[in-house]
């Protein structure tokens, strides 16, 4: 038996070696593009050329003066907030349903989770059919039910198109939020709920005065994920409307793609893409602080 330390005994070296692949991955595929995007947003770079000129805040000034950008910014806010409100309401309701014991619960839960597993692009393509100007199942169903006179051009009118985007984004995040809320509900102390029952609280008082306040940290995490996923998503809007009609339904990612890649103005595209970063950081910090503040230490 040799008394020398082998490589496997040297935890300091071993640690570095084992961390290296992950570190390289993060640095090369996340860190470098991220820094590059910030640098590009201050440049006059364009696609197809290696010319790199310093532009200062010119790109930012240009996009802020651009009504399409301002529209995209508002749309991003509407889609993000709208879909998250919808998600929280629906997920809370669904979590209450899945809490009860009923036949076929496992199957139902599996079906519920499916949207989360479907690739966004495929799902969005399916949704374009649901919202199709001629074949829209929504329209035909409403028509047969006698609720619709006339016709809804879902993806053809700005207001309706934005509604469609909100619906699809909510549909996409909803399963995840439900699962998180279900886990949260299951972790609530049972006797606190029972105390509320004995104290005479009905369903809504129990939900709004006991369960949801206790679930606040969990809800905050679900919302944080939802906000980040929705605000940075390119696929849904790109496939559903492509930013149209007439650039009215752009969100920041689609506009960045249009300007930077399709329009070859890398500088402006990067500025649009990076624009949301400070907001998302603030949202993330606020949410995490909220979660920590309401965390309950001991009963």
């Amino acid at each position: 038996m040799t008394r020398r330390r082998r490589f496997a005994d040297r935890e300091d070296l071993l640690g570095i070696v084992m961390l290296a692949p992950a570190l390289a991955y993060v640095l090369l595929l996340v860190g470098v593009p991220f820094v590059l995007a910030i640098v590009l947003s201050f440049s006059t770079a364009s696609a197809g050329s290696l010319r790199f000129g310093w532009a200062g805040f010119a790109n930012y000034a240009a996009i802020l003066a651009d009504p399409i950008f301002r529209g995209a910014l508002i749309n991003t806010a509407i889609v993000t907030i709208g879909s998250q409100v919808l998600v929280i309401v629906l997920a809370t309701a669904a979590a209450q349903v899945f809490r009860a014991a009923f036949h076929g619960k496992r199957t139902a839960r599996f079906v519920l989770l499916l949207p989360w597993a479907v690739p966004v692009s495929l799902a969005a393509i399916a949704w374009t059919w649901i919202f199709d100007s001629t074949f829209s199942v929504i329209n035909w169903t409403l028509k047969v039910a006698g609720l619709l006179h006339g016709w809804l051009y879902w993806l053809g009118e700005p207001g309706l198109a934005l509604t469609a985007i909100v619906i699809v984004q909510a549909w996409r995040i909803f399963p995840f939020a439900t699962v998180i809320l279900l886990a949260g509900l299951a972790s609530l102390p049972q006797d606190v709920i029972e105390a509320a029952i004995v104290d005479g609280a009905g369903f809504s008082r129990r939900l709004f005065h006991v369960e949801l306040p206790l679930l606040l940290p969990v809800v905050a995490v679900a919302v944080l994920f939802g906000v980040v996923y929705t605000a940075t998503d390119l696929g849904v809007v790109y496939i559903l409307t492509g930013g149209g009609p007439a650039n009215t339904t752009h969100v920041l990612p689609t506009l960045a793609f249009q300007r930077g890649i399709q329009g070859a103005d890398l500088g402006q595209g990067a500025a649009i893409a990076v624009f949301l970063l400070p907001f998302l950081i603030v949202v993330a910090i606020a949410m995490l602080r909220l979660a920590r503040r309401t965390e309950i230490g001991g009963m």
């Binding site: 102390p189 006797d191 606190v192 029972e194 105390a195 509320a196 029952i197 004995v198 104290d199 005479g200 609280a201 009905g202 008082r205 005065h209 006991v210 306040p213 206790l214 606040l216 309401t294 309950i296 230490g297 001991g298 009963m299």
Partner: protein, 346 residues
């Protein structure tokens, strides 16, 4: 205020009866303790009275009204949980006011009631704190306060002292008893601690495997146990049970006697009718106020059941380990049980 009537109450979980055909009559203003080992069904019984558990069959009346189908909020009960189940996101004052808010009382009335209850339990200084900022004893009082403000017809307490440390438990027990005497509300109290049960209960219902074995005052349950389960569950150390060798008794009789009655023979006054038993001492435990002496009855050697004698500190004589001494039990304290069924024989 009102009593609770329970008739033929059963609760089945799958094949297992948690509570089986229980009849219980709790008088108005009474402090009744449900006592039994864990899993005996006492908590399930309490939860059925509260309405948190649906009976499989049977009836529950509270204050003369049939209640087994009524939701908990309609039963006029208040419950204190073992964990206290305070609302962690609400201050003490908002915890206490919760049941009143649910009743839809005006804000001024709620505030007044909360202050009154907090005063009663001496927790007024903590009204603005959160439960996590309170000690165990303070939390327990908040839980009692929250139960009190509803003016319930019946208090249901599920081991409310179990989470307190031993020292605090004694004071809390005393406070609880005084409080109940003052407000005279019917109380059902669940515990597995027989000291608590004896100290608190006007009557004790001893439960085992879903059934009530005996109901009676602490004295009745202790001195006249109806079967070997009650005899050995109530009392610390438990009642000694040995096979009787007296030919005058029917075969298969168990002789029962309390450890504190099993003393050196020369300790008893002359003239007291005694049952002498030679005691082979194995080990002596010194506990300050008492000595516990472990051993077995020497004669016959048919039976090596461990027998315990509890000798108060007032008897100072030496008890050497490994020797056989002449011990005795007063005849009047002997209890006889059927070895096969465990039932009492008079």
């Amino acid at each position: 205020m009102a009593g609770v009537e329970i008739r033929h109450l059963s609760k089945r979980f799958g094949q297992l009866y948690a509570v089986e055909d229980v009849d219980l009559s709790i008088r108005e203003g009474e402090f009744l303790v449900l006592l039994g080992p864990s899993g005996c069904g006492k908590t399930t019984l309490l939860r059925m009275i509260a309405g948190l558990e649906r009976p499989t069959s049977g009836e529950i009346d509270i204050g003369g009204e049939r209640m087994d189908d009524a939701p908990p909020r309609a039963r006029g009960i208040a419950m204190v949980f073992q964990s206290y189940a305070l609302y962690p996101h609400r201050t003490v004052s908002r915890n206490i006011s919760f049941p009143l808010e649910a009743l839809g009382l005006p804000r001024a009335a709620i505030g007044e009631k909360v202050r009154w209850a907090a005063e009663m339990f001496g927790i007024s200084p903590y009204l603005d704190r959160y439960p996590r900022q309170l000690s165990g004893g303070e939390r327990q009082r908040v839980a009692l306060c929250r139960a009190l403000v509803r003016d319930p017809k019946v208090f249901l307490l599920d081991e409310p002292l179990a989470n307190l440390d031993a020292k605090l438990r004694n004071t809390a027990r005393d406070e609880l008893k005084r409080f109940q005497r003052r407000i005279k509300t019917t109380t059902v109290y669940v515990t597995h601690d027989q000291v608590e049960a004896m100290g608190l209960g006007d009557r004790i219902a001893v439960m085992d495997r879903g059934k009530v074995r005996q109901i009676g005052t602490p004295q009745e349950v202790y001195e006249e146990p109806v079967d070997t389960f009650v005899a050995t569950f109530v009392g610390q150390p438990p009642m000694n049970l040995i096979a009787a060798r007296d030919p005058a008794l029917p075969p298969g009789t168990l002789l029962g006697f309390r450890p504190e009655h099993f003393l050196p023979r020369d300790h008893f006054a002359t003239g007291e009718p005694l049952q002498s038993l030679p005691f082979a001492v194995r080990r002596v435990e010194y506990l300050g106020s008492d000595r516990y002496v472990y051993g077995n009855i020497a004669a016959g050697a048919t039976d090596d059941t461990t027998v315990i004698a509890k000798i108060p500190a007032t008897i100072g004589r030496a008890i050497p380990e490994g020797e056989t001494l002449e011990f005795a039990v007063p005849q009047r304290t002997l209890r006889y049980f059927d070895a096969a069924t465990g039932a009492r024989r008079s």
